[in-house]
């Protein structure tokens, strides 16, 4: 087992944990943190593959993904503040206005 296989397995593990955080936790802020963990796992995988293949495209892609993650968390947290103002709670089950 070499370095890049270990890093790929770590990326798969972090992706799994991030998916479980998104699915299981009931706080909207925890769901957002799970999305960050998913993006981080994808970044690790991209960088490790690109490094072992002797390319730089993966690293540049990761640069753009990090920027998009920053924008996404800024928007997500301001939506969360609005959610807290409107419903008084940020639990995912409190926002049921659209429920038929």
């Amino acid at each position: 087992m070499t370095n890049d296989v270990l890093i790929q397995l770590l990326a798969a593990f972090l992706f799994t944990i991030g998916m479980l955080v998104v699915l299981l936790r009931r706080d909207t802020i925890m769901v957002l943190m799970g999305i960050e963990l998913l993006l981080n796992a994808a970044n690790i995988s991209l960088v490790a593959f690109s490094k072992s293949g002797g390319m730089i495209d993966g690293q540049l892609q990761v640069f753009f993904i990090i920027t998009v993650a920053a924008a996404e968390s800024a928007i997500g947290l301001s939506i969360l503040v609005n959610l807290y103002r409107n419903f008084g709670s940020i639990q995912t089950q409190s926002a049921t206005t659209l429920k038929g």
Partner: protein, 174 residues
């Protein structure tokens, strides 16, 4: 296989599991911060210095400060989220997680490890990058020549995100 990378990977795996099961959102946020720092360490150890720096500054610096700030702003300590689901849902989700991990590991073995020798390598080997002036120089040169339109578009997207966050966080549209 470098022992430092093994230690960093083990710490980040433990921190990720702690993040999943912690009751307090602040604990989870600090665990996520730890995972991001360990990731930056791994990037640095495999020689990706520019990505490691950006990970430290943007992810661990800016995004996590934003998260911890909003947790404190919303005062989430009282309504700490616990697992209120039935245990069956938890067991099913963990089984699904194991399934996803297994599928990824299987695909890694099947499509990467078995064909390792046949995969063509690109031109940017470690020696070539070193001869061209280092990782940061090579990446920055590609970013401002080959990918300059993407760079401009991503800066526009960040500007739109800033304006959108300000509009969303305002109290009322008046």
């Amino acid at each position: 296989m470098s022992p430092v990378i093994i230690v960093l990977a083990a710490i980040s795996a433990v921190l990720a599991v702690t993040m999943l099961i912690a009751k307090n959102p602040i604990t989870s946020a600090l665990c996520l911060l730890g995972v991001l720092l360990m990731t930056a360490g791994i990037y640095g150890l495999i020689g990706e210095h520019l990505i490691a720096t950006i990970q430290l500054v943007v992810y661990a610096g800016a995004i996590m400060v934003l998260f911890i700030f909003s947790i404190m702003l919303l005062n989430l300590n009282k309504e700490s989220s616990e697992f209120k689901d039935k245990p069956g849902i938890f067991i099913g989700a963990v089984a699904m997680g194991l399934g996803v991990f297994g599928v990824i590991a299987f695909a890694l073995n099947e499509h990467f490890l078995k064909h390792r020798q046949e995969i063509p390598t690109g031109e940017f080997t470690s020696e070539k990058v070193m001869a061209l002036g280092g990782n940061s120089k090579v990446l920055s040169h590609a970013l401002f020549s080959q990918f300059y339109i993407s760079f401009e578009v991503i800066s526009l997207a960040l500007l739109i995100a800033i304006v959108g966050a300000v509009v969303l966080a305002k109290r009322k549209f008046d």
